[in-house]
Chain length 295, copies 2
Amino acid sequence: MNQQPKVLVIGLGLIGASFAKALKSRHAAYVYGYNRGAGVAQQAKELAVIDEVVDDLQSLPPLDCIVLGVPVLAIAPVLEQIKPALSGLTLLTDVGSVKGEVVTIVQQTLGELPACFVPGHPIAGAEKSGLAAANETLFDDHMHIITPLASSSAAAIELVTQLWQACGADVISMSVEKHDEVLAATSHLPHLLAFSLVDTLSRESENSEIFKYAAGGFRDFSRIAASDPTMWHDIFLTNQSALLAVLRRFQADLSQLEQAVEQGDGAYLKQVFTQAKQSRDHFSDLLAARKKKSQ
Amino acid sequence: MNQQPKVLVIGLGLIGASFAKALKSRHAAYVYGYNRGAGVAQQAKELAVIDEVVDDLQSLPPLDCIVLGVPVLAIAPVLEQIKPALSGLTLLTDVGSVKGEVVTIVQQTLGELPACFVPGHPIAGAEKSGLAAANETLFDDHMHIITPLASSSAAAIELVTQLWQACGADVISMSVEKHDEVLAATSHLPHLLAFSLVDTLSRESENSEIFKYAAGGFRDFSRIAASDPTMWHDIFLTNQSALLAVLRRFQADLSQLEQAVEQGDGAYLKQVFTQAKQSRDHFSDLLAARKKKSQ
């Protein structure tokens, strides 16, 4: 494609704004931005995150691609408004942490799955949220998972791949079901456990006195419990079945560890801990390799 | 005390060696070092971690203080060897993560709790272990918890306080029981959950393929699962009852969350996540205040 594609990002939070800024700063697209309420998109233009503000979703300029950067449960009302523009698009995509529910929402709202639609999920994030935290290097060396559907056109898959690669991401393709299972295990469950642990400890002492004594182990663990409660509420409820399945396997494994501690079964503990350390070290090697590859 | 106290550190791992190096570099003590096997203590002298090597625990120079820097389950055989020297000491202390079991071991091995004995536990650590990771600033702005016993002399409590303060630590006193409960909740349980989560995920896919897709949430969570399996085996088995108590409260809270996800009870999820975020933010404030105080 010799001409820059025209991309509209709807929702200029951390992910949407970082994607917009990465595309614009690398000259990979001409980037329009829309955000609910007038101020945010205007500010995004002043910060050079986007090229041009879109004020009204029902009166759009000619576009190649629309990226839905809003939370999963906010997608339906946005789709209602942009419906007339969809037939002119090469690509409609999103950045939600759950894919099955997004596909259901698109199907229900539009009455079909359009050929331009390819669901996506960048495996990246940061502690801060919002436009102010936008970072054009957020996706460098990170995976972007796409979950093409039977209805997705080749042109849509090609454009989504091209745009995210331009932002520095490794684009990986898998089924919707596999995505939701893998993310339930590697992201949603850890967050649920972190929220739950901090909750348990808060109950331990009414005045949070216990936190005074908390050290490194707890600090690492609880960092992710500072994430946005509303976003996680949406994720847990929309990836319910995959999350419950892996949560129950975790609970069963934890009960076995509990029994081993109770019975003083040191051999079992050592075996599990050694296996866990090996897996963690293997994971560290993978991370290091991914980083090195990009240097 | 005008004259420098003479301190022997037995066990020159991360904690023992960092304590020795901090004392020596701040001229707060004349530091002897002992480690099983000849090479380590000699290397510690060459690295200026200690002033002088001790080769034989049964033939010690005149000392004011002995610090047991060995794992909890290695304390008994060391005590057997240093028994003759204890009557000349002002202070005998340790650095174990569990205090009840250490008191039991001292009582059983010596047949009494000597007046010089004050148990202690520095709330500090690092990802790396061993002499090579020794860091004289490891305890700056960190808590050192002491758990004085009814049998502990005023002179012993004064010396342990003075030495750890010289290493930059805030010295805090609490009962053995409270220490073991607080640490079970804030350190031992998070480590058990991290080991258990990594274990569950390893079982999910035989070739660890799942780790390829793991992102930030999992990275923070699993970092602590890279800790030394033997040390944690000892900790879990020696702090069994406090750990099991808080683990069971956690399991009950987690089951409530599981039910809420299953029933789509968004209000309950939001309430727990918001409370967890507030507690975590409160904890971050505490950490920031502790850091600021020391600047």
